[in-house]
């Protein structure tokens, strides 16, 4: 017979669950409200979502305080792991979500925002991501990941046009394959170590000196493949441009930030101990991944004719750039990852929001896709403010100082330099130059070409047709964050470094 199980509530550290549960509660509340009274305006759901996310943020602050005071917190049978990475990632996730949600308040009406399920699923997704980053148990990671992913597929599809279904199905199918990879990889590691907790796996592998290196590699191959899919590493990236193109611009911007930071955190947990144990194979593979992903994505971005698709490739390239942190594996590199991603989230969300506010329902003849380059011709003459804002986002993405991403870039390259990866540092730097071309291409269209006649007639209304105060506010936040990033970098850096360092990365 089993002995009765006695567990004290205190030992469970249930407070670790608070940040994740808040969005779940919010989601359920939205569902319940909808159940009680339908046809409520989307603004209500937007505000409710924001409120819960703010609560979530507050809870995170609390966790952060606990972490600073006591170090890493384990909770609920050691399934939950609240360390610096988890907290930082959740900060990014929640903050970006707060910035994203008001983008629903568009001037024109789009399908997904008219349904409360969207907001419920959105909050579920956030909770899923939060679980994913706040655990080192492969099972919980998997479940969190799938919760978030399934919600995300639906969110994409809810944009409700052919392209978005196509995007969702592609994403879903490839996601299913990636899930298979993930489970297979976990199985192999489990077979080796008898555990599904990353730190135990790491300890056991280290203790027996990687005796079964073949098994380890097979396991890592499959896990790597599944995260390469999530992080859109070439050649696992093929879903990215299509999905970005298919979903709404706001969603695409969101997707370029949140799922990736979650995946990055798990990848850091999973792979860095191998890097630190000098698994040469992984070093080589990651090196190749970083270089190929950056370069190839940049080259494809060069030839795009649609801005959103170009930005999709650019975000692949950025992800490749940031993946260098996992390869380098030093505290500086890991801090650089978070710093970069925080700055990137501002800029990229801003850039996609700019596309979002110019979204048309009917495409004129010269425009094949939603945001083809031609659309932005001569924007400076018809709506100069919008053009300048867009240009600043582009410059920031290109890494032109003093805009936000530049600081992330130099810190990351510096990490490469410090970690002894000189060639990598050069490749990373030079890739910015290649990337410069396509960002500049948009600036060229906006500033140096003459506007298309119809846009002159309505004096550039096109570019802000979808804008409301809420959207403008978000863009305002983004642009201020992008321009004045240099003021925030120092505190951010100290914060991030402390958290990363104290988590043992």
């Amino acid at each position: 017979m089993l002995s009765p199980i006695n567990i004290s509530i205190e030992s469970l550290n249930l407070v670790t669950l608070a940040p994740m549960l808040i969005p779940f509660v919010g989601a359920l509340m939205i569902l319940v409200i909808d159940l009680l009274k339908g046809n409520l305006d989307k603004s209500l759901y937007v505000v409710i979502s924001i409120l819960f996310l703010v609560l979530d943020f507050g809870a995170l602050l609390d966790s952060a305080g606990m972490f600073s005071a006591n170090g890493i917190i384990l909770g609920v049978f050691n399934v939950m792991l609240i360390d610096g990475l988890a907290i930082l990632a959740q900060f990014i996730i929640v903050a970006t979500s707060i910035l994203f949600i008001p983008l629903a308040l568009t001037n024109k009406r789009f399908h997904e925002f008219s349904h409360p399920e969207f907001f419920a699923l959105f909050l579920f997704m956030i909770g899923g991501f939060q679980f994913m980053v706040a655990s080192d148990n492969l099972i919980l990671i998997f479940v969190g990941l799938e919760t978030a992913s399934l919600a995300l597929y639906t969110l994409i599809a809810m944009h409700n046009r052919d392209k978005s279904f196509e995007a969702a199905i592609k994403y879903f199918t490839m996601g299913a394959l990636a899930a298979g990879f993930y489970s297979f990889g976990s199985m192999v590691l489990y077979a080796l170590t008898g555990s599904v907790e990353i730190n135990q796996i790491a300890t056991i592998l280290a203790n027996n000196g990687y005796a079964d290196i073949g098994f380890v590699l097979v396991g890592v191959v499959f896990l790597l493949a599944s995260f390469a899919f999530k992080l859109s590493v070439v050649p696992f990236h093929t879903w990215t441009p299509d999905v970005y193109e298919g979903s709404s611009a706001a969603m695409a911007g969101y997707m370029s930030i949140v799922p990736k930071i979650a995946a990055f955190v798990v990848a850091m947990r999973l792979f860095e101990f191998l890097i630190h144990s000098h698994v040469v194979w992984l070093e080589v593979v990651l090196y190749a991944f970083v270089v190929i992903t950056m370069t190839a994505a940049n080259m494809w971005a060069l030839v795009q004719t649609d801005v959103k698709r170009m930005l999709a490739y650019s975000s692949i390239s950025h992800a490749g750039f940031v993946m260098a942190a996992i390869l380098i594996g030093t505290t500086q590199a890991n801090s650089a990852l978070f710093l970069y991603w925080i700055l990137f989230s501002f800029t990229n969300l801003g850039a996609f929001s700019m596309l979002w506010i110019s979204r048309q329902k009917e495409l004129p003849g010269y425009q094949k896709t939603d945001h083809s380059f031609e659309k932005f011709s001569g924007m400076i003459q018809t709506s100069p403010m919008a053009a300048i804002v867009m240009a600043i986002f582009m410059l920031s993405l290109a890494g032109i100082p003093p805009f936000a991403l530049f600081w992330g870039k130099i810190y990351m390259i510096s990490a490469a330099v410090t970690g002894g990866y000189t060639i990598l540092a050069l490749v990373m730097a030079l890739n910015s130059a290649i990337a410069g071309y396509y960002y500049i291409k948009l600036i060229v269209y906006m500033f140096m070409k003459d506007p298309i006649a119809s846009n002159v007639d309505n004096s550039g209304h096109l570019y802000v047709a979808n804008a409301t105060t809420a959207l403008k506010t978000i863009i305002g936040f983004a642009i201020l964050g992008t321009i004045f990033a240099f003021l925030a970098v120092d505190p951010l850096l100290e914060f991030v470094t402390t958290f990363v360092y104290n988590s043992g990365y």
Binding site: L2, F77, H111, F124, A157, F215
Partner: protein
Amino acid sequence: MFEAVAFYLFAFLTIAMFYITVTTAQALYALTALAAGMIFISAFFFILGADFLGAVQIIVYTGAVMALYAFGMMFFDTTRDVKEKNGNKFIVVSLATLAAVMIVAIFMAPIVSTNMQAFYPAIEGIGNTQMVGVVLFTKYLIPFEVAAVMLLVAMVAGIVLAGKKMDLSLTKMSAAQIKEIEDKDKKVLS
């Protein structure tokens, strides 16, 4: 001996069933083979002493999943022969074979590390289901609950996607059209 015979028998059967599933041009054959394969897999679970898992496998897969697939097949009208344009089979086969051969080659080797300790050991004399219950509701309580949320998400998603809500696309409609529809709705309601 019995174990070996059972293993090889069921291994052959599952492989054969799944092979049929991925190769047959008859959608119905594929469905049936898949269902059979899943049942055979549950046999492995029973052999391995994972009784509860075996039961869940049968209930969930054959009971729920297969029913859903069958429903889907009927809905999509894929009961007839499925016509698929198949490009280069060579790539498909060679990639899969290569993967299998390489992994198998590695898996042939025995696992050297022997200092394996069971973190959640199965205790003699206690039923599998009971053990599973204990572990599931202590250690894996949180994943379990999250899985519940996941199922809720799947449910909501399924309802949203397959339900009527997606029939009209606000995304593609102009402001005027949307207004028209809303007015109609109001009339219906009032």
